[in-house]
């Protein structure tokens, strides 16, 4: 029972926190949706533990909690990989922007020099 309450409380806190971030425009929808879904799923299994037991039996996992841990770990790894991907993409874009800014500044200076106004 304690574990159930703990899970439900954690899920609700996560849900409220992510939702407030989303509302303040700090977090983009595409990331927020994922975490909202996670917390909703957690809340569901905390309130209806028999659902987890049923799924475990159906796919042949002896201990329901093991299934929970397994799925959670897999999902978190996927999220981490996805974030690494996004980060790499952003680093590449920022680098390209830095290069373009440098060249644009150079061009401005050349135009000024040619103009003789500076």
């Amino acid at each position: 029972m304690t574990a159930q309450i703990l899970g439900a409380v954690a899920a609700i806190i996560t849900f409220v926190f992510v939702f407030s971030l989303l509302r303040r425009g700090v977090l983009r929808e595409k990331y927020a949706v994922l975490w909202l879904f996670f917390s909703a799923a957690t809340l569901f299994f905390a309130l209806v533990p028999s659902a987890l037991v049923w799924i475990s039996r159906t796919i042949g996992v002896a201990e329901p909690v093991n299934l929970l841990f397994f799925v959670t770990v897999v999902l978190l790894i996927l999220v981490a990989v996805q974030l690494s991907y996004e980060l790499s993409r952003h680093e590449a874009r920022i680098r390209r922007l830095a290069e373009e800014v440098a060249l644009a500044q150079r061009q401005i200076q050349e135009l000024r020099d040619a103009d003789g106004s500076d």
Binding site: R95, A98, E99, E100, V101, A102, L103, Q105, R106
Partner: protein, 241 residues
């Protein structure tokens, strides 16, 4: 090749101690070439000294690494219609007397890499770093079907086809600016040759790679080559002209 179409690109990060001397020496050997110093987010007065020395300076807003600095130089060369880009390090390790040979070599190749390993060379490396360099050389020579004895050399020239490619794709990862860029060039069927060059000891500053990093060379470099090799025939995307 006429030297007026040549851009000497010098990536520089906090090289105030050597930059002026390097520019002077380059100009002495290549009076007709234009010199572009890519100031890679220096926190000292490298940019001002380079400007005072008569070089054109492009300043990156923050340090992006040699790969980023060189791609900036290639973009600049492409947009200004240069026929050749020669990379020279700002720390004074490269001898501008070799520039002619690297530029002339472009008549037969898209890229000419200055190799520090040859009969008359004073250059020597040992230990894990040496093993890594031998392995890299073997891998790239095999890809290139022609010897590249010193793929980590930053003293190299690039012709029009290489400029076109490198303006779009020039890796900024560790070893990407040297080994990775060559792998990309070979994958795109550019012709890569090499010429012997002289290597001086660094004038100022510290060598960028200490013993620990040298040991890590092997794994990271191999990974870089495998990643590039798996990429397949890379066709640059997007028009940045």
């Amino acid at each position: 090749m006429s030297a007026s179409g040549v851009l000497i690109a010098i990536p520089a990060w906090n090289e105030s101690g050597s930059i002026a001397g390097v520019i002077d020496k380059v100009r002495k050997h290549q009076p007709d070439a234009n010199i572009l110093v890519v100031n890679d987010g220096s926190t000292d007065n490298t940019a001002a000294l380079a400007e005072a020395g008569g070089a054109n300076v492009v300043s990156l807003p923050f340090n992006v690494g040699v790969g980023g600095a060189m791609r900036t130089a290639f973009l600049y060369a492409k947009r200004h219609g240069y026929a050749a880009v020669v990379q020279v390090d700002a720390d004074g390790q490269h001898d501008p007397a070799d520039l002619d040979r690297l530029i002339d070599g472009l008549d037969q190749a898209d890229i000419v890499v200055g190799t520090r390993f040859h009969e008359n060379s004073m250059y020597f490396v040992g230990g894990p770093r040496r093993w890594a360099m031998v392995l890299l050389s073997k891998a790239l020579s095999w890809m290139n079907k022609r010897t590249i004895s010193d793929p980590t050399s930053g003293f190299r020239s690039a012709g029009p086809r290489a400029i076109e490619l490198f303006a779009v794709e020039y890796p900024a990862d560790y070893l990407g600016d040297t080994v990775g860029s060559l792998a990309i060039a070979i994958r795109n069927e550019l012709v890569v040759h090499e010429e012997p060059v002289t290597m001086y000891f660094r004038q100022t500053g510290r060598p960028s790679k200490n013993a620990v990093w040298s040991a890590l060379y092997l794994g990271r470099a191999t990974l870089a080559i495998i990643a590039t090799g798996l990429k397949g025939g890379y066709i640059p995307k997007g028009d940045l002209s």
